[in-house]
């Protein structure tokens, strides 16, 4: 599987965020998107996720499921956690598992993998920022998607959480997955660096 973007250009609010950007990543490889604030890391991830339309350029995913588009084969972990405070931890997770569909994993096991199984019946409103992040990460595990688009994935995670997430990313890459992560901190896994911005 190969994810490639060619000559990408993104314009937001009349301002050019980035232009003539090329990227490529193959299965089992992680791409770390780095750069100063405002360099367009989040915009790039949202373009890849199909949530922003690039002003120029094209994105292709070769070797995936031909019936599905790139966003349909991708997980997007954004700044916002997509959790409902009124629902319990288990309800939040099983909703996304049922809604996203495809190859699913047992919800209880996913919660255990991020060490949240003790809080399964707690309303999500009572979770700390780090626990919310863990719950979002459980979503990535509950449904199998080959491409992970991660925006500052380790923010709010404690040291144990970061170590845990590194393990999960390694497992995902080992199973033929592909990761594009925007980050300021070292990811903790072998990743190719995509440096953005600076002179823009």
């Amino acid at each position: 599987m190969r994810l490639s973007g060619r000559n990408l250009k993104c314009v937001r609010g009349g301002r050019e965020v980035f232009s003539s950007l090329d990227l490529s990543a193959v299965a089992g490889e992680a791409l770390a998107v780095t750069g100063p604030n405002g360099a367009g890391k989040t915009s790039l991830l949202r373009v890849l996720a199909g949530l922003l339309v690039p002003a120029e350029g094209s994105i292709a995913l070769e070797g995936g499921d031909a019936e599905l588009s790139l966003p349909e084969q991708a997980h997007y972990l954004g700044h916002r956690d997509a959790l409902k405070p009124a629902l319990s931890v288990a309800e939040n997770l099983s909703f996304w598992r049922d809604f996203l569909g495809g190859e699913t994993e047992d919800a209880g096991r996913c919660l255990a993998a991020v060490a949240l199984d003790h809080a399964a019946h707690l309303p999500a409103a009572y979770l700390s920022a780090g626990q919310r992040r863990r719950l979002s990460i459980a979503r990535l595990l509950s449904v199998r998607r080959p491409v992970w688009l991660l925006d500052e994935p380790t923010s709010a995670l404690d040291a144990a959480g970061q170590a845990l997430f590194v393990g999960l990313m390694r497992a995902h890459l080992a199973s033929g997955g592909l990761i594009v992560a925007a980050t300021h901190l070292p990811l903790g896994i072998d990743a190719r660096d995509l440096r953005m911005g600076g002179a823009a």
């Binding site: 349909e72 309800e91 996203l100 569909g101």
Partner: protein, 222 residues
């Protein structure tokens, strides 16, 4: 299909929990209806003549009250991004969300109608007629309102804009809803004529609403 049932079940569950909109809509409906006799005065004949119109206005405003959270809540917490990316067509997801909203916020209004009819001096037939027209007409309110909710999704405090956008669209529903109720009570028109137009309006909005809402959600993504 299971994706849509999951979405409907989630939205209903959230609406029924603390802080959800379902109960607030009914309470608002109750308040509007209870206030009317105080404003109009204790003229029973006048009240029963105005009754269907008052109930319809109350239901319209109550359904509008909770509609602005239809997409904004999902937009603010990032759920909407995932819904847009998912393998479920956005049109179907919009339809499922509107259906869930109608079940959680529209049906309780209809169930409350017989009780509120008592306060407005409506007899059994009249109350039944109003409830039937609400049952046929409120889906149209929800599904046209959804278009406004989708347009206003990226705006903070979009609720007011929603009302300005949606209320004009709901005029036909209001006209035929009240006309059908009046026809059942006093004639001379047969109840069926305006009622079938009301049903037609609902069916048309059932088709148009999800497509229009999905299109404006896609356009408004940022």
């Amino acid at each position: 299909m299971s994706a849509l049932t999951a979405l409907i079940r989630r939205d209903i569950r959230i609406a029924l929990r603390v802080g959800g909109g379902a109960l607030i809509g009914v309470l608002f409906f109750l308040t509007v209806t209870v206030l009317m006799p105080f404003a109009v005065g204790p003229d029973l004949a006048l009240l029963s003549r105005l009754g269907p119109a008052i109930l319809w206005l109350g239901a319209l405003l109550a359904s509008l009250l909770t509609l602005d959270r239809l997409f904004t809540a999902d937009h603010e917490d990032g759920s909407l991004d995932l819904i847009v990316m998912s393998r479920t067509p956005l049109e179907l997801a919009c339809a499922a969300k509107a259906l869930a909203h109608w079940i959680a916020a529209g049906l309780p209004l209809i169930i409350a109608t017989p009780v509120l009819g008592l306060l407005l001096n409506l007899d059994g037939t009249a109350t039944l007629a109003v409830a039937a027209t609400l049952l046929a007409g409120t889906p149209a309110l929800t599904f046209t309102g959804m278009i406004g909710a989708a347009l206003a999704v990226t705006l903070h405090r979009g609720g007011l804009l929603l009302a300005v956008l949606v209320l004009p669209l709901s005029i036909p529903v209001l006209i035929f809803g009240v006309a059908a109720s009046q026809a059942a009570i006093s004639g001379p028109l047969p109840f069926g004529t305006p009622f079938s137009i009301l049903c037609a309006l609902s069916l048309a909005s059932l088709v148009i609403g999800p497509f229009a809402a999905a299109a404006s959600l896609r356009h408004g993504l940022d």
